[in-house]
Each structure stands twice: as C-alpha cells, then as structure tokens.
C-alpha cells in the first residue's frame, strides 16, 4: 500500500523495504531510509505537535536538524526520550513516537485556551504579575508554570540508560566541516596533497545541497570515490561538529548507523574530539522563515524542506503548494516540485527575476511584487491571502501548503566561536564571517557563495590556500567530471515580516511573535541580547536557526536602525543538542573516577573487609560486614592489648635524593631535617606559603643524600606537586631528584605491646632492642626474605613498627607477619580502628589539617624552625595566625559516659547557646576508657582545659555536656611508643 504523499522514488528510501511505526497510537508505514517526518508527511499526517506556550497546532517545518516544531517523544526499551526531532529521526521497524505538550490529545488540547488568552500572555508577562499574595508563587503559580513549560517528558528506565557511550580522540591536519560541494571539493583537494583530512557532515550521506540536484550525481559520486581512495582522508557522515573550542579543537557528535551500532553493542553515538591544524567551514547556509500571520500553521514549511522531502524521500508535502519567497535560489524547489508534476504557485516579493521568468516558462503561476498576508485553515493550511506590495490588490489562493523562503543565512556559528567577526552583506541580506588565516577558511555557502559550482570552486580555492600554508603541494587529480554550471541569478530582496493582525512567529518553538519583539523593544529590552532574554527568542532547542535573524530584523525595524547594527545573538555550542550520555563518554559510574587498590586488596576482601572510598583509594574500614562499633573496638583493643597490623600503603611516599636533599627538605618543611641522622625518622609539618598547615608526616634519612618522605593519604598528590613546583620554580639550583614511589612500596603498621616480638620474627639482620632501634629509628632490612625497610614510628600511640616492602611482595610479607603474630592473636585492623587509636592519642589527620589550621592552632608552634627560610615562615608569624582566640586543638569527652560524640558537634557555652566556640573534628568510642573521646577545635581552647561546654547538634536534636581536655588523652609522656 503506497502512502498518499509518496509520489516518487527517493534518493535515500528503499521502496521495497516498508517499515511499520506508530505515531500517537496510529499505525503507519514508511520506507527504510525515511526520517519520521518524511514518513509522517507521506502518510498525510500534518499536525504533529502543540506549541510551547499557546499550544497551537504545529506541523513539520524543515527537513533537518534546524527543525523547531516537529519534536516528539520516542518510547523505547530505555524509557521515554523527549524532544527527538522527527526530521532527523531515522525510521525503524516498531518505532513508537508520541506528540508532546498536549492533553488529552494532539487534536483536542485543553491548554489551547492559552492561545485565546494570548493577548494577556505577551512576552515577559510573568515578571509583572504573580507577586501577591507572597506565598502563592512557590505554592500556586510556579508549579502551574513549571508543569505547563517544557515540551517532552523524560521517563527513564535506569540501567539501560546508563549504557556508557564512548569518546574518541582524533587528529588531523585539516578538519572540513560540511560535505556539500564546497566541503567535498576542499576535502578532495586537500587529500590529494597528502594532508590528513577529516570530513564531517551531520547528514547521513555526503553531498549537502548537491543531493538535491540530479545533474550533480556524477560529480558527487566521483568525488566520494576519490575520497575513499585517499588513505589520508576520513569521511564521517552522521557527524555534527558541535562546537569549536579553540587551539584547533572541535567536538563532534557521531551518530552510529544501525549496523555499526550493532557492532558496537548498541552504542548510539560517540563524541569525537578532533584536533586539527586548520579548519574549513563549509557548513552551507540555512533557509530563513518569514514572519507573517499564520506562519505557524501545519503545512507552512521552508521551501527547501519541500524540495528535500521530494528528492530524498519521494514525498510531496502537498498537492497545491504556494511558495512565498524572495530569492532566485529558492526557485530550485519550485522547479523540482513542478518538475514532479505538482501544480505550484509562487508569490515573490520581487517584481521580477530571472528565476521567475524560468518558472513562468515552465507554466508556474508567479505573483511578482506580492507578499503573503496570511495563511488560513484549521489545523492546516487551506488558503493563503496574497497582497500586492503596494497593499492594493488582494487575492486568495487555495493551497494545501505554504512553502516559504526568506533567504539564506550562511551558517557562521562555528566561525563565531572561532572569533570571526560578522559582516553584513547586503547582496545576500545576511551576515558572513571570515576566519583568521591561522585558523582556517570559510567556503561555499557558509561564506555567502551560493550556487553549487561556485561553492565547489570556492572549496577548492580554500583547500589550495590551506595546502600552501601547510606547505603541501596539492595534487593535480581531478574528479574527471565537469561542474554543472550555475544559473544566473537576480539578487534577493530582503523580506522579514508581513505585518497583520494575527500572530506572526519569529521563534516557532518558543512561541515568540514579531509583536513580542516589538513589545520587548518598547519596554527597553532593545539590545538583541536583552530581547532574546526577555522574549526567549532563539532559546529553544533549535537555537533560532531559521528565525533568529528575522527577530533581529523586526527589532531593527522597531528601533529604527539598520539590521547590521542590531546584529545577532551570540551562538554557542552545541550545534545540535547532545545527549548527556554522549558527552559523558565511558568514564561514568564505576569508571567515574579510577579506583586505587591496595596491593593486598584481594586479601582484605577475602578477610571480609568492608571497604570505604577515601579519595581514589579503596581502603578496608573494618574487617566485618559494617555494623556498629564492636568490631572496630575489637580491632583497636587488640592493638592496645597485644598486637595488630594494618595496611598503610595509601600513604604518599616520595623518594628524595641528591646533594641538596636535606636543604630542600628544610625549605619545604617547617621542621628541620638537615640535623636528622642517617637511620632516623622525624615527624614534620609542612606549611603553605600563607602560613597554614599543608601536610604532615614522617621523613626518614636512609643515607646522607637520600630521604624518604611520607605524606598523608589525602594530600599525597598535592604534596608531591607542591614539592615539584617549588623545586623547579623557586629553587631550581638545588640538585635534588624527586620520585613518586607511592605505588612501589607496600607499607604495614605492626602496632601494640607485642609488636617487637612479631617484627623480630620476620626481620633479619636488624637488632630491634630499644637501644639498637629506638623510637623513630629507620633502617633497611630483609623482611620475610624481601629487601625492605623498617621504621619505628607510631600513629596508634603504641609500640609500633612500619614495614615497607616492594608491593609485589606485599602478600608474602603480610602473611609472614600474620603467621609470626599468630601466637599473640594478631589481627588486621581497618581505617576505623586506626582512627580510634590515633584520636585517643591526639594525633591529627585531615579532619584537623583542614586548610584553616596553623601550627599554633594544633599546638605545633614549637616545630617551626627558628632559623633559616622555609615555605610559610614569614606569614605564619602574623598575629592573625597565632591570635589566642583562634580555634585550637583540644580533646573532648562527654561528661556522661553513656553519651556519644559526633563529628560536627558545635560547642557552645551553657550561658550562650547560639555562639559557637568551636566544633568536634574527630570522635570515637574509646578503647582505653569507657565512653567517647574526641578532638575539637575550640576558640582559645588551650586556656579552656577543664571547662565544661555544651556539644550540640541541632540537626540531630542532640545536646550533651562535654569537658575540654588535653588532646593527648593517652600516654601523654609517650612511654608506650618508647617501650
């Protein structure tokens, strides 16, 4: 069964492959190769949408990505996808599409009353009303507005939707955007020169405007074949260049063809990031609408679109079209349609033209010197009223569609993003752009060179210019097919608007009328960017592609200035709306950030650890399925009572070598390292230049000119970069080599009163007695047969050692330690227990090193060297950083043992409960005593030891009494670590 609108064989459609689909519940049939729009038109479905604001009936206006009206929801396995363009949506078997923004149905839409109320809803009316009563905006008006706004509905079936897309990185000498005759010729010529060329076109086939002209088939085929034979040229149909990002970088969206999508696991599109030395913008020109009353009726469409439907899909958009136009170029559609046996009438604002003569010769009725005053009909064009430009002679023409063309605007958005200035060209009534030579060339219609042959020649010449710039001789190869000559043309007569009493739209999607533009001007929103924002003109998904300049023209007229002075609004990426998924690429969900795994990750996992993400790392939090503090306290208790082992491989580790290593560390650290003996470790603090603490950690001297710095896990990257920066920028003369050895070394803390015995059992050749290997000793040693390092340092407050071995031996060594510790009941402990232990001991970590604490705040003022320069020295001495009322580190305990502490508790005085005196930074149930202990930063905290404050967490409805204590809550004399 042939669809009524299908009158010929289309270039892209296959008459032997019918495709069934549904629109608004109605089953229809199209052909393989059809877009949804083509199939709908073939089936005589003209009404396809309701407009945004007035809910007016709308049809299909264009045949490409510039479509403002024919947006549909597509319902598929992955949910409901809104705002798909019927004009680019390829038909496939079983496609289900629904019209948008109407209720209960497309034909009977209740909100169409908005149209009747239109006079009360001009641009920006909402700024002037809905102000009273005060509560009503959020509760009444806004919800109503929000529900009315938006076009499609997004309903996702999560999971399927998150199928990752992919990003591909490309490199080329020249990117040619647009594969019309200009782009094809340019790409071919550049390709013959051996330059690496990418040719991208948003269309499913290459050819651009030449596809519409049968005379050009031979040339096109020859060029495409030529391109295919050039190894250095890549042709990317279905690829829209989304934006130009400077430095030769372009983003492009490639939609995969169905077979390729199948090969790529259902991947729908890929983002291409293209780096090119030069660009050729051969993006063609866009046909413009004309603002006249009723220019939004279904059946009113661009003339070029009708031409495309006929040629590409064999579909006649109507049987009695009236053309309304102002240029010879637009007659191409007239010739095509009448050539297909369709009876056409033309209304041309120009008195006469070469094209009109040619049309008349073909028997087309041409009304010269006339305009369309209005299009009429319910839900579709039935008739158009034509008036003589003098305004005298009026007549009505029967029509089932009105094909308008207000001229062509070169597609300059990429050029604008590349910094091109727009110049007004009276001859074509449009702006053109020029690229700086170092960036590339405009070519063809994009440069205002209309006509296929002229564009092809222009593309060639652009290619020659670029090849010369890039020092490549162009090849002589010729397609071997002559360029069909362009017809002579009569210039365009600018025509933007035909004024009348009814609504004439400049933005069909956002329902902006010419009257809205004038109102905007009257209210002072007369700069084109103000007008855009006030009326929302050009802010819809089509970004005003076909009506943008018309809005500017109406504004210019209202302001009484020439159009070039008004200009256009600024175009931005993206050239076509691009799905989140495509922009996101593959680095989503589990790949959103890399996971850093410990060398013993699998062991921890097998041991039942609950993992926690800290930064990029996955760390064992506790060796039990996470619930409650009991397991944590057991782990911590083992350390306090006997011995435990924990994986601290996440610490940053930086190898520092060279004759100036000690001097360098003395600059970097506020603490002194030059005096550190070989075989010893020292705890040090590092400041930022503004005097605040940056990081802390232990540094060991392994040899006179060899140090090993450890940093906190959180600051590992930042600290390395801080050191690299200062070494290279500030003290480049220091002869120091920094190497990141963070991943090289696995490091385990073996802690607890029995740790010496355990470590002794696995370490060979190292005497561990207090005398031989005292607190803060460091040495190389053989650990379980592996060359490693032993440090006697303690974060837990207990006698403890840290064993470092190359990560590939981590398991062997860890197992050996466990084995050796078996008789003491050694158990691994996780991050929670580690925290418990260090809080009790009063050791600080990221919660206290929060970027706003000074050495003085944390009671470390004595660690600042008295002599010599170091980063932060000068500014750390400012009174602001040492003022006694600053927040200082203290310990806190609830008075009632049964009360728990909570990080983020605010501390207030009982008599002034709204003034914060500080807050709890870290807290834990204690192993040593019952009840909780915590660390806090408290205003003038050191003077408050013994004071009682209220710890309050209003968000949890909690308030408890606490006591301020010294942060050194465990073994303040440090006897245990020195045991």
């Amino acid at each position: 069964m042939r669809a009524p609108g299908r009158i010929a064989r289309g270039l892209l459609t296959d008459p032997d492959r019918p495709v069934g689909f549904r629109f608004d519940g109605r089953s229809m049939q199209g052909l393989a190769g059809d877009t949804l729009a083509a199939a709908l038109l073939a089936n005589g479905q003209r009404l396809v949408a309701r407009s945004f604001k007035y809910h007016r009936p709308r049809g299909i206006v264009t045949a490409g990505p510039e479509e403002p009206c024919a947006l549909v929801d597509v319902i598929g396995v992955s949910g409901r996808e809104p705002n798909r363009l019927a004009t680019t949506l390829l038909l496939h078997e079983g496609l289900v599409a629904e019209s948008q923004n109407r209720w209960p149905s497309l034909r009977f839409d209740v909100l169409a009353v908005n149209d009747l109320m239109g006079r009360f809803l001009p641009a920006g009316f909402y700024y002037k009303t809905f102000m009273a009563p005060g509560w009503a905006w959020e509760r009444l008006y806004e919800p109503l507005i929000r529900r009315a706004a938006g076009l499609g509905r997004l309903e996702a079936i999560v999971g399927d939707h998150a199928a990752p897309a992919e990003t591909v990185h490309d490199h080329a000498d020249v990117l040619v955007v647009g594969a019309g005759t200009a782009g094809l010729a340019a790409a071919h010529r550049l390709g013959t020169s051996g330059l690496k060329v990418m040719l991208a076109d948003q269309d499913v086939v290459l050819g651009g405007g030449s596809l519409l002209d049968a005379r050009w088939s031979a040339w096109r085929e020859s060029l495409c074949a030529g391109l295919a034979g050039l190894a250095t040229v890549r042709c990317l149909p279905r690829t829209t260049v989304l934006g130009a990002y400077g430095h030769g970088v372009f983003g492009a969206l490639e939609t995969l063809s169905p077979p390729e999508a199948a090969r790529f696991d259902g991947l729908r599109e890929r983002l291409r990031i293209i780096r090119a030395r030069r660009v050729v913008c051969a993006t063609g020109a866009l046909e413009r609408l004309i603002a006249f009353p009723g220019n939004d009726l279904p059946g009113v469409m661009l003339a070029g679109a009708a031409h495309q439907y006929l040629r590409r899909y064999g579909v006649a958009v109507g049987r009695r079209p009236v053309f309304f136009l102002n240029s010879d170029e637009a007659y191409e559609a007239v010739f095509a349609l009448s050539g297909a046996g369709i009876e056409c009438a033309v209304v041309d604002v120009r008195e006469s033209s070469l094209a009109a003569e040619r049309a008349r010769a073909l028997g087309v009725e041409v009304h010269g010197g006339a305009v369309v005053e209005g299009a009429y009909g319910r839900d579709g064009v039935r008739a158009v009223r034509v008036v003589d430009v003098t305004g005298r002679a009026r007549r009505e023409l029967a029509a089932d569609c009105l094909l308008m063309s207000g001229g062509y605007s070169p597609a300059t958005t990429l050029a604008s993003q590349l910094g091109a200035r727009l110049t007004w060209q009276e001859a074509i009534a449009a702006f053109t752009a020029d690229l700086a030579p170092a960036i590339g060339q405009m070519a063809g219609a994009a440069r205002g060179v209309f006509g296929l042959a002229a564009a092809a020649r222009d593309g060639e010449s652009a290619a020659r210019t670029l090849a010369a710039q890039l020092a490549r001789p162009v090849g002589a190869a010729d397609p071997g097919v002559d360029l069909p000559p362009d017809a002579d043309v009569t210039p365009i007569a600018a025509l933007w608007e035909v004024r009348g009493p009814a609504k004439a739209f400049v933005d069909l999607q956002n329902d902006v009328t010419a009257a809205d533009v004038r109102l905007s001007c009257r209210e002072g929103y007369e700069h084109v960017e103000h007008m855009k924002r006030f009326t929302t003109h050009g802010m819809a998904t089509d970004q005003g592609r076909i009506g943008g300049l018309v809005g500017s023209a109406v504004l210019a007229q209202a302001r009484g200035v020439p159009l070039w002075q008004v200009g256009q609004t600024r175009p931005r990426p993206f050239a076509q709306p691009v799905p989140f998924a495509a922009l996101a690429g593959g680095e989503v969900r589990e790949h959103y950030r890399p996971k850093r795994r410990l060398p013993l990750h699998d062991w921890h996992e097998a041991a039942g650890a609950t993992f926690v993400s800290t930064g990029l790392w996955l760390r064992p939090l506790v060796y039990s399925p996470r619930q409650g503090w009991e397991a944590v306290l057991n782990e911590a208790r083992a350390v306090r009572r006997s011995v435990g082992i924990t994986d601290v491989s996440t610490l940053g580790k930086i190898d520092v070598q060279g004759p100036d290593a000690a001097r360098f560390l003395d600059f970097i650290y506020a603490s002194s390292f030059a005096t550190l003996a070989v075989g010893r470790a020292r705890y040090g603090i590092m400041l930022r230049e503004d005097g605040m603490l940056l990081d802390d950690g232990t540094t060991s001297r392994l040899a006179p000119e060899h140090f090993l710095v450890t940093t906190t896990t959180a600051n590992a990257t930042a600290t390395l970069e801080h050191m690299e920066f200062h070494l290279q920028a500030v003290w480049p003369r220091l002869d120091v080599l920094l190497t990141d050895v963070g991943d090289q070394w696995a490091q385990f803390a073996v802690a607890g009163p029995r740790s010496r015995e355990v470590v002794a059992a696995v370490v060979a050749g190292l005497e561990l007695s207090n005398e031989a290997f005292p607190f803060m000793a460091a040495s190389v040693a053989t650990i379980a047969g592996v060359a490693g390092r032993v440090f006697r340092i303690s974060f837990s407050g207990e006698l403890a050692y840290e064993l470092a071995v190359p990560a590939r031996h981590a398991l062997a060594v860890w197992s050996a330690v466990l084995e050796a510790g078996k008789r003491f009941g050694i158990a691994p402990y996780g991050l929670d227990a580690l925290n418990t232990l260090r809080i009790e001991k009063g050791h600080v970590t990221a919660a206290e090193l929060n970027g706003n604490t000074s050495a003085d705040d944390l009671g470390m003022q004595r660690m600042l060297k008295k002599h010599g320069d170091f980063i932060g020295r000068a500014l750390s001495q400012r009174p602001g950083l040492t003022a006694p009322e600053r927040l200082q580190l203290v310990g806190v305990r609830p008075l009632a043992r049964a009360h728990r502490l909570r990080n983020g508790l605010q501390l207030v005085a009982p008599e002034a409960r709204t003034t914060s005196l500080g807050y709890v930074t870290s807290s834990t149930p204690s192993v040593e005593s019952d009840g909780w202990v915590g660390l806090a930063l408290v205003a003038g905290g050191r003077r408050r030891l013994g004071q009682r404050l209220i710890g309050t967490s209003p968000v949890h409805d909690e308030a408890i009494e606490i006591e301020i204590v010294s942060p050194h809550m465990l073994d303040p004399e440090n006897l245990r670590v020195r045991a």
Partner: protein, 197 residues
C-alpha cells in the same frame, strides 16, 4: 553514493591482545648536568639511553625516555631489588636509581586495532606517521597516567600498579567491540624486541 567509511570494523578475530610482562623497572635520573655521565654508564652496560620520546632495546633490556634526564629501564626480573641495587651502584654520584618494579605494571598490547581502541582514551595521536616504531610518551588514559612505547611486537604500556586493575577493566569495556583477549606473559619477547605474530 555510499560514503567511504573508514571506521574501524571490529572483527571476529580479536583486535587486541593484552599480555602482562613481568619485568623489573628502574628509573634512573641524572643530577644537574650529569645526564652524559649516565649515558656513558648505561652505554658501558650495553644500553644506549634513548633521547626523549624514544625507546631503545638492547641485550635483553629496554630503556624509555619520557622525562628529560630520566630513563626507565626494563629488565628481566631479578631477586627483589637487585636490579635497582645494581643500577644504584652504577650511577654513583651522577644520579639516582629508584626501583619502580612494583610501582608500575607493564603490559604489551598487540593486534590490528590497538591504536583504534586506545583512541577511545588516549589523547595522543598514535598514528604510525606521528608515533612511529621506537616512540615513547607519557600521557593520561582514563584519568590514569600511562607510558606508551611502540615496540616491534606491539605497544608497551606502563601504568601505576594501584590503578592498573581499573585501567584494565576500563580497557576491557572500551575495547570490547574490538575483541580483547589476554595472552600469556610476554616478558622475554618484549625485552628482546620480538615481532608479534
């Protein structure tokens, strides 16, 4: 009318073969102005240190230059730390040798579609014209640092061990359409400059 379509076509045979290489890796770095000394030292041991951006293979060892005055040396695994210790001794006061055998994972990627697959993460131009055999570079893939080198037998990839599993999983998912298979260890081949079959 059909467009010349040069997109990579996944094939039935795997486009990518990934093998890990068990190697010792040592980074040697020269102190100020002493790179020539290191070059001499290495030369004496049969290894011509390559210029920046290149890789050199000799006598079962491999040297990569991706940082000025620094080289990554790859060798057959020895007793823990022994390779590094040897180089440490050799460097003397001209520079430092740091063991990174456990810090970097080494893989060899081979197969007809390696470059296409890597173009999904790698921002460098891996076109053989631009990145020919013998090239080496440090860059970032899937947010992870990598060092790439073009060997006769394929592409050598070094990456920090803590994120190696992540990168591997990422590669596996991104390269799936091309077909990714794991191969047995190819250490020897890599170090001797074998051609992949």
């Amino acid at each position: 009318m059909s467009a010349p379509d040069s997109l990579p076509m996944p094939r039935a045979t795997p486009g990518i073969r990934l093998a890990s290489c068990a190697v010792d890796i040592v980074e040697i770095a020269a102190l100020h102005g002493r790179a020539p000394e290191l070059e001499n030292i290495a030369g004496a041991r049969g290894l011509d240190l390559p210029v920046l951006g290149r890789v050199a293979v000799a006598s079962g060892q491999l040297a990569l230059g991706v940082r000025p005055a620094r080289w990554l040396l790859l060798a057959r695994p020895a007793h823990s730390g022994a390779t590094a210790a040897r180089w440490q001794a050799a460097c003397g006061r001209a520079g430092a040798a740091v063991d990174l055998s456990s810090g970097l994972a080494a893989w060899r990627l081979a197969g007809p579609q390696v470059r296409d697959a890597l173009a999904r993460a790698c921002r460098l131009d891996l076109d053989p014209q631009v990145f020919p055999a013998g090239s080496a570079a440090a860059t970032v893939m899937a947010q992870v640092g990598v060092i790439l080198a073009v060997l006769p037998s394929g592409l050598l990839l070094l990456t920090p061990t803590s994120t190696a599993r992540h990168l591997r999983a990422w590669l596996a998912s991104t390269a799936k359409p091309f077909g990714l298979v794991s191969e047995a260890d190819v250490t020897v081949g890599v170090l001797s400059g074998d051609r992949a079959t």
